[in-house]
């Protein structure tokens, strides 16, 4: 039995104990008072028809029985697999409690010596009350426990779902990284070889005489195409799949992204010391999926600024507050927030941000253009 189950069972016993004790006390006090009132009201006691019993004696006997039953329910150990055994044990305890009550009443002189047959009647009524109280306690405890289990399974399910999402994203990133590595390595290498082969043919051709001018020209063009494909195409696709720096740290990933913005655009970047310190590459506290999200966010903001906003200046600020919420602010000097902002790219990002507890906002910025500000909580993950 693990710890959670142990506390669960302790709680179950406590609920069942109080659930049995309270009705039993109500019965006991009620019955004692009723006998007392009945004697006074009927006035029969004065005629000696009914034996005059002091109230305290009945109370003591009844409360003792209630306490015995409650204590038994509280103290008898229970495990889910041996529930029937437990029920039998507490039922016997209840019976014992009721018999003890009868014995106490006899000892305290509740019954007239001429009417000892009443003892058995009282025991039967007591048994009914005791078992009823016990049933109330058990039913109550069962209901509470079911509610607790339900709640726990719901939260466990939510946890499982988010863990599955995390695993899925991590796996996606791993595949991206592998494909990017393949592109950088194998594909680029093969293209180098193809280029070298072409160059070889070209060299041989230029030595020979009867070569069509246009063929040489096409070969040269082809070789240049392959070089371009290798230098730019393959590298850019690799970059798209798995941006450089994502495996190192948030600041590094952001810096790599910023350095790729063409030099004709003014870029002011401020990566706060707190961010560098938090995602220190030696500790790598920020998951790669979040780093990738930050890069995507910046890419979206920058390309929106350049494509739709005609911006010539971009200011990027990365900061973090004491609650370890990362803030990303991108300002541009473009045409500003359009009347009908194109949220196609941002919609997907907003969704991703939502799923990690972040937020995104598009407003007018101090540079005259748009300001995109986003937050991503990094702590307590």
């Amino acid at each position: 039995m693990d710890e959670v189950q142990a506390t669960d069972m302790a709680r179950y016993r406590r609920t069942a104990a109080w659930g049995s004790f309270v009705p039993m006390v109500v019965f006991g006090v009620g019955a004692a008072l009723q006998s007392e009132l009945f004697q006074v009201a009927s006035g029969l006691a004065a005629y000696g028809e009914i034996y005059d019993v002091p109230l305290w004696a009945r109370l003591v006997a009844n409360l003792t029985a209630a306490t015995l039953i409650g204590a038994a329910v509280w103290l008898v150990p229970i495990s889910p697999s041996r529930r029937l055994w437990w029920l039998a044990a507490v039922t016997s305890a209840a019976v014992v409690g009721v018999l003890v009550r009868g014995a106490l009443q006899v000892a305290l002189g509740v019954y007239q010596s001429s009417r000892m047959d009443l003892v058995w009647l009282d025991v039967v009524v007591g048994l009914f009350c005791g078992l009823f109280s016990l049933a109330v306690g058990v039913v109550l405890a069962d209901a509470f426990r079911r509610a607790r289990l339900q709640e726990r399974s719901t939260s466990r399910q939510a946890l499982r779902a988010s863990a599955a999402l995390d695993a899925l994203q991590a796996e996606e990133l791993r595949v991206r990284r592998e494909v990017a590595e393949g592109l950088h390595g194998t594909v680029q290498h093969r293209l180098v070889l193809v280029g070298a082969g072409l160059r070889g043919i070209f060299d041989e051709l230029s030595v020979g005489d009867a070569v069509e001018e246009q063929h040489v020209g096409r070969l040269v063009e082809l070789e240049r195409d392959i070089d371009d494909l290798r230098e730019h195409g393959v590298r850019e696709i690799g970059q798209l799949l798995y941006p450089a720096g994502v495996g190192l740290g948030v600041s590094q990933a952001v810096r790599m992204m910023l350095q790729r913005i063409p030099s004709s655009i003014r870029v002011q970047a401020h990566i706060d010391e707190s961010v560098v310190e938090y995602d220190d590459p030696a500790f790598a506290r920020v998951p790669q999926t979040l780093r990738l999200l930050v890069v995507r966010l910046l890419e979206e903001a920058v390309s929106n600024a350049l494509r739709h906003g005609n911006a010539g200046q971009i200011a990027v600020a990365l900061g973090m507050d004491e609650q370890q919420v990362l803030s990303i602010i991108v300002d541009d000097d473009g045409v500003g927030v359009p009347e009908n902002p194109e949220f196609s790219g941002l919609a997907g990002l907003r969704e991703r941000l939502d799923s990690v507890g972040g937020a995104l906002e598009l407003t007018t910025g101090p540079l005259g253009g748009a300001r995109l500000s986003a937050t991503i909580p990094l702590g307590q993950r």
């Binding site: 590595e181 190192l248 790729r260 003014r266």
Partner: protein, 263 residues
Amino acid sequence: MVTRRELPIPAAPVARRLTRQATRPVWGHHPHRAPRALRHTCGVTASPSSKTRIAVVEDQPLYREMIAATLGQRPEIEVVVTADGARQGRELITAGSADVAVLDVDLADGNGLALGIQLRRADPAIGILLLSAQDVMGVLLDLPADVRRGWSYLSKSSALSTDSLVAAIQATAAGGTVLDPELLHRARPREGSAVSQLSQRQYEVLQSVAQGDSNAVVAGRLGIAVRSVEAHLGMIYAALNIPEGQNARVTAVLRLLEETARG
């Protein structure tokens, strides 16, 4: 085309070694006092005959062996450790065992940047030279504050000569920062930045300095007098608003990295 370069003359790197040593715990809470006190002793200890001890961490066996073999043949270099990954690197490169760690950034079991930071924290005197196939030279800009100086970067896809690799290792050992020549060549000054305001000549001087060249080498490369190089450097510091001092050279190199873009 790779031009063969002379080995850096210790004059400038020694000044930078002082910079880095100033952060060593030897001087406790008064690091700014240290350089003056040590100016003489340093000149003596930096004997050109002493070998630079290097550790190589590279996960591709062929590349690792090639680096180790090529560098091992050089009289000025001693390869003291070779490791196949981050974990082995952490185990084998103990504090004081190497002057420079040559680290591949993309390791199978981690990355060279994290390893370099860990090594530097364990040994504040070790220089770190990063190698990478992918262009991640910008990592030098956002290093944690406690390990910021004495990092260099070379690209694996650049056509590097052994001479330039040795030169970069020695400059790094001396606390300097060396950037990859080919990547520097591809870089363009960013619009509106202070670096874009430099004159053509000043830009060339800074580019050469960023490759780890001493003033004499810069002078030889550009065909100007060493004095002119010094004058240019003074103007560069002024233009970039860098206070002159031991850190100025490295700071200027990092500004060049920060304020340029590589397509």
